[in-house]
Amino acid sequence: MLEVRNLSIAFKTRDGLKSAVRNIDFTIGPGEILGLVGESGSGKTITSLAVMGLLPPNAIVTSGEVLVDGIDMLQLGPGELRKLRGRHIAMIFQDPMASLDPIFPCGDQIIEAIRLHETVGKAQARQKAIELLEKVRIPDPERAMRAYPHELSGGQCQRIMIAMAVACKPRIIIADEPTTALDVTVQKQVLDLLRGLNEEVGAAILLITHDLGVVYEVADRVVVMYSGDRIEEATTADLFNNPKSSYAKALIDSMPTPGGQHDRLPVIERDALGNVFSVRPEPRVRSSNVAAAPDANATPLLEIRDLVKSYWIKPAPLAVPVEMRAVDRVSLSIAPRSTLGLVGESGCGKSTLSRAVMRLYRPDAGEILLKGRDIARLSEGEMRPFRREIAMVFQNPYGSLNPRQTVAELVEAPLVIFGEGTAPMRRRRVAGLLEAVGLPAAAAAKYPHEFSGGQRQRIAIARALALNPSLVICDEAVSALDVSVQAQVLNLLKDLQVEFDLTYLFISHDLSVVEHISDTVAVMQKGRIVEYGSAKAIFANPKEAYTRMLLDAVPTIGSDRVGKGVA
């Protein structure tokens, strides 16, 4: 049905063609779901764009064929291609909200998609659009028809995109990271939906993702890509049980898996010949005296008691503002040198809570005890000595580093702000910090854009450690990273915890990561902590229904796969 033969794609650069994808082959049969897996930069998205004939102007196909029912897409003119797009091959994109035109109601956009390929009247198309919305199980389809994209949640927008994609009963659907921007529970719903539609409509699905768990649960067969090459193709069961290539094996290994809580994650290493293999690095040994193990009975480093933070929102322009409790009587404590994992879906109040602890704003009620002293109501000036005790590592390593500053300037900034040491002393400190996070000393003179995402996150961590904080808040600190890079950063965080006596408040939506790194876990839902306890206990035996639902939604390797036909 879809056959990609010997496809090679290159980018035009000033130094000539730079190969992006080399000799890719794969086929998808009717009703099949093929997973295309790889890390960022592996060429999976560019391959999918080539299939759609949507390559950016700076990319060209250097060889190969893309056969859709025997017709080579690469030989078609723009007009013929256009007729196939949407009707024959449809595409679902990563960021659903950005993929809808912001200034048209969603309904109009679905109607438009229908009328592009079918000669039906507006009223008929509208009727069909509503049926499609029912099919993708959007609550209140009439309202969704009228709503603008920004008025819907990410999950709802993705349902709209899916409705649009299946509108003309395409034979092939390309889904490019369709659930990456969504919460786990929503991800599960969307994957179930895709699977169900695949059954119902009979369309073949090319599922592109970096998430092996997603592939494990949904795909029939998997193609693994690595820096532009096809590394391995196998049925899903074969790939996960018995990966043939060392890269696929390393990739699977580097995912945090349930049960392997305090193990170190294996990371992917490359030798001089470019061969890839997986190694499980030894933990770094603390040079000085042996670190004391976290003591649950010691005075907590951070204790939060009945913390409340509300926002006042107006439901309608003339209405009286109503209180929205983003953080609702939250109490928790973190022992020194331990890690508290804070999990919950987007909008549950995780970030509000972490910002309250940072005292980026004043909580409405409750206490925040840092080393026994309540900082909830301190003034800006009184807060200053406590500021150096708390550091933060943010989610986006691209956005949180000023692109105009060198790494040395970035890392020493906290020292400069607190007027610490002389310039040579600070330079030595920066060198020490860079070494601690595993960056070469030469990095100091470079700018952030010269580093990869994982390296940038190391820079951000070095900066967070500059003032010897006791508490480090990691707000989705590894969420933007590839699995193998994520494994490296998680290992680093563990090493640093021992080396610098750090306490982590680790915020994440990724339960397997939280399970891997945390000593205690707090599950947050709608501003409240619904479950709180030792990580082992919660993951082994979740008591709350919400926690169980979150855990069930995580696509994990080794779990029962979503059965075909189960919607």
């Binding site: 759609m52 949507l54 723009p78 256009r82 007729k83 196939l84 797009r85 949407g86 009707r87 449809a90 595409m91 994109f93 960021d95 950005a98 993929s99 809808l100 035109d101 912001p102 200034i103 048209f104 438009e112 998609a113 592009l116 390929h117 603008y148 920004h150 008025e151 995109m161 649009m164 107006k314 309608a316 322009p317 003339l318």
Partner: protein, 325 residues
Amino acid sequence: MNASVAGALLLVGRKLLTAFIQLLVIATLIFSVMYIMPGDPVLLLLGADSNPSPEAVASMRNQLGLDQPVMSQYFVWLWKALHLDFGASLANGYPVSRYVLSNLPRTLELAFAAIIIATLIGVPLGIAAALKRGSLRDTILTSVATIGISVPVYILGTMLVLFFSLKLGWLPASGYTDISRNALEHFRKLTLPAVALGFGLAASIARMTRSSMLEILGRDFVRALRAKGMSERRIIWQHVLRNAAIPIVTIIGLQLGNLMGGTVLVEAMFNWPGLSTLLVGAVSARNYPLVQGAMLAIAALFICINLLVELLYSLLDPRIRRKRT
């Protein structure tokens, strides 16, 4: 009441209130500037050279209300201004409002004509450049636009007059004919000043259109529209242009506002009897009431146009509509 209607009314109401407060602040500024400026209008009025008697000066002060305390002068002036009464011209005693009301439409007409010309030239050129980014066409259009922005309006105006009226004799070099007297002549005389004014504006509109189009063309949803199988032309006209319109409307609106006080050179050059001409004449004659009246009229127009532009945004962008309420 329907929530969205209520929201819209609330939005308009809030904007109107803000506009009124802005106007009040400007009126106060205009009054105080005129008050602290050197030169005594009474002496000027009576003729400083003729060495008027103190009695005559005092009686004139009394007549003009200038012997009252400042605050009371201010409030009397403000109250009258609210009723469009800006006092009488010092030159001949005619009401200032009559001058303002007769000259204001002429400036408005010139400004609108210039903006329409600028939009008609600038927007298509910007689109043309954006669609062929990096091509020769783009380079030429962008360079012409840069030149257009940098050429001062008086040089362009002079060139236009030299070419179209002196050499070709197609259009009159300057002057004004009332539309009721001779409509054709009116528009013939409007053409050159409007083109002179509009050309530079067209250049900046073209640049804004180009960059705004390019930004929208790079968005994810454009790729999604292509994946739906929509034709490139329809993507541009139905989706990209409407999304790109917001910054374009902003710059057009801002320029129109600026033109209210920015037509000075062109009005002087083409002898166009608009607000700027009135203002320049009044300033050199120290005709204070007339200066105040003309300045207030310009400021009021500027604020009104900005208000209209802001309301237009809400129509163009549903996100603004909901967010503000």
